[in-house]
């Protein structure tokens, strides 16, 4: 009855090898072949299994702001390459390539917007820019955004995606952890909400600084979130890691995040939260 089973089996990548790859995407969760347009309408969440594809910065800007209200800040801040760092390539060349590839100065976009009428500060990291690594520019832009939050009494929302510290900036990259945490100390004392949104992947110095310090930590389903990367851990302990280790659901189980939230519900969840946290939020009945 092979023919019968085959009929019931959804089309797999192998069967569709001839299909143009700019029209379809294969789900990494269930293997389903999905129309890219349909997938985009679904915020790139697989309608069959709920797998969350990684998405560009623009998607989060849309999720967390009212149409046309996002005003970008500090676009022109650039790394000064303080160490004149050269490994197999000069850091400057890596920066130039990343700037060309992404059209951005560095690995975070920051700005102000409204979200269902609530004035917010919003920062979204770009994993495509040198692995979303945090150097002086990411630290400085996030610190400025936080100060803006404090000055204007705006809740802060940061969407993280990062491989960790930008080691080509040496000790300065480590110190950005202290810098962003210092900013959060200010916000904390001023009583301003900070919602941290963890997306795939968030590791290293970003996790061990601002990303874990949300009043509320939200994580997208299945996102890798941790301090040490899984490969480093495997090499250290010489063991295979358990299934689901360092994924959002694992963090929820171990008490490190408040909620695992489907991307399609992030906006609504955040708005509800802000209305619960803020003294007088627009739309609060």
């Amino acid at each position: 009855m092979a023919w019968f089973r085959k009929e019931k089996t959804p089309l797999r990548a192998d069967d569709r090898r001839d299909l143009p790859s700019d029209v379809f995407d294969k789900c990494e969760g269930c293997g389903e072949i999905l129309y890219r347009d349909k997938l985009a309408q679904n915020l790139r969440v697989c309608p069959k299994c709920g797998y969350h594809f990684r998405v560009p910065v623009a998607v989060y800007l849309e999720i967390f702001s009212d149409p046309g209200t996002f005003q970008e800040l500090d676009r022109e801040v650039r790394s000064a390459d303080p160490l004149n760092f050269v490994d197999l390539k000069p850091y400057r060349a890596r920066l130039n390539a990343a700037q060309k590839k992404t059209g951005r100065g560095d690995a975070v976009v920051t700005g102000v917007a409204t979200l269902e009428g609530i004035p917010i500060s919003l920062g979204v990291m770009d994993f495509a820019f040198i692995g979303g690594s945090m150097g002086s520019v990411v630290g400085e832009k996030i610190a400025r955004l936080g100060r803006r939050s404090a000055d204007d009494n705006r809740p802060l929302i940061l969407v993280s995606a990062s491989g960790g510290a930008r080691m080509m900036e040496g000790i300065y990259s480590l110190m950005q952890m202290a810098k962003t945490a210092t900013m959060l100390a200010r916000l904390h004392e001023a009583g301003i909400p900070f919602i941290s949104v963890l997306t795939d992947p968030t590791t290293g110095g970003v996790t061990a600084s601002f990303a874990m310090l949300g009043d509320v930590n939200l994580a997208e389903p299945g996102a890798l979130v941790g301090f040490a990367g899984p490969r480093v851990i495997e090499e250290t302990i010489k063991q295979e890691l358990p299934e689901g280790f360092q994924r959002s659901e694992f963090l929820l189980e171990h008490g490190m995040v408040d909620l695992v939230v489907d991307r399609r519900a992030l906006r609504e969840t955040t708005v509800r939260l802000l209305r619960l946290l803020l003294a007088a939020a627009p739309g609060d009945g």
Partner: protein, 333 residues
């Protein structure tokens, strides 16, 4: 102090030290006057020590910082301080032996001291996890810092760790959260705070004790975002390039002073801290007393504003035409 183990570039130094020892031995056993030879050998030793330790490459600095005879936190606690009373536990999970803390006196005044603790031999190192804390270590440190805050005592931290521990338990119990919380809460402390890198300042595990009013480094300690081996493995795709990585990372005390991260470099004896624990411990005391006096002269709010300002200025960026408050140009090597 036994002259072994030692580093490769210390071989000549060890040879002279051994000569001095056998000469002393001879003098004692046979009653021969060796004063002249001894004086010559000792001055030769000092010259060679100065020569060697003033001209270390970056990777050699890393080796000195990890020297198996280098004094560790507990060695300073009984030399730089008095009345040391260790306190244990994070009150949630367990006591982490890779992080020690408790009360001590500095020139008679009570202070809270926290520090990473490495082991001296394999057995001790298994107990101390090679100075790599688990989350409960950072949480113990924070508990003790809050105790210091409650009683208005200064906090002094001694940093000496390869880094946070990449293991399953450490991740499960949230080491990222533990480190992050320490960063924010150290920024908020009202009491004077000083951190001193005494050996290896390894990435987030080090910084978790490092958000302080003053940051000091012992001369031959290092402070880095990643180990040279780790950096080489990632950026050069082979750990064999650790020499290049060490040089590129700019991780020596002199580099960090020049980069404006460190407030003072504490000089070590000519042969490094491991050649004279007492002299190093004394130098540390002098430095701590000086900075503490300075910090105690400020109001709590002023001190905290300065602390925040210090960390908020760190970095190197260019903002269009306008230079940022941090360093803006490539710095001279």
């Amino acid at each position: 102090m036994p002259s072994t183990p030692h580093l490769e570039f210390e071989r000549d130094l060890v040879e002279i030290q051994e000569k001095i020892e056998s000469l002393l031995d001879l003098a004692e056993k046979k009653g021969i006057d060796v004063a002249i030879e001894l004086r010559e050998l000792r001055s030769k030793l000092t010259r060679l020590q100065e020569d060697t330790f003033q001209n270390l490459s970056a990777i050699e600095q890393v080796q000195v910082a990890r020297h198996p005879r280098r004094p560790y936190t507990l060695d300073y606690l009984v030399r730089t301080f008095t009345d040391w009373m260790e306190l244990h536990g994070d009150r949630a999970f367990r006591d982490d032996a890779a992080m020690v803390g408790g009360w001590a006196r500095l020139e008679g005044s009570p202070v809270m001291v926290l520090g990473h603790q490495k082991g001296r031999d394999m057995k001790d190192n298994l107990h101390r996890n090679f100075g790599m804390p688990h989350p409960e270590g950072y949480r113990k440190a924070l508990r003790l810092m809050r105790m210091a805050e409650k009683f208005g005592r200064p906090v002094i931290t001694l940093i000496d760790t390869p880094g946070a521990y990449p293991g399953i338990g450490a991740e499960k119990r949230g080491q990222a959260e533990a480190i992050a919380t320490n960063l924010r809460e150290m920024a908020r402390l009202q009491v004077p705070t000083i951190s001193v890198v005494i050996g290896e300042g390894g990435s987030g595990g080090a910084l978790a004790l490092g958000v302080t009013d003053r940051i000091l480094m012992l001369e031959h300690s290092v402070y880095s975002v990643i180990s040279p081996e780790g950096c080489a493995a990632i950026l050069w795709r082979s750990a064999e390039y650790r020499d290049q990585a060490a040089a590129a990372l700019k991780l020596t005390s002199r580099d960090l002073l020049r980069l404006g991260v460190v407030d003072e470099v504490i000089g070590e004896p000519p042969g490094g801290a491991h050649s004279d624990w007492k002299a190093t411990a004394d130098a540390l005391r002098v430095a701590l007393v000086g900075h503490l006096e300075d910090l105690k002269g400020m109001e709590a709010q002023e001190r905290r504003q300065k602390r925040w300002g210090k960390f908020e200025a760190l970095g190197a960026w260019v903002d269009g035409e306008m230079a940022g408050p941090g360093r803006t140009g490539p710095l001279k090597a």
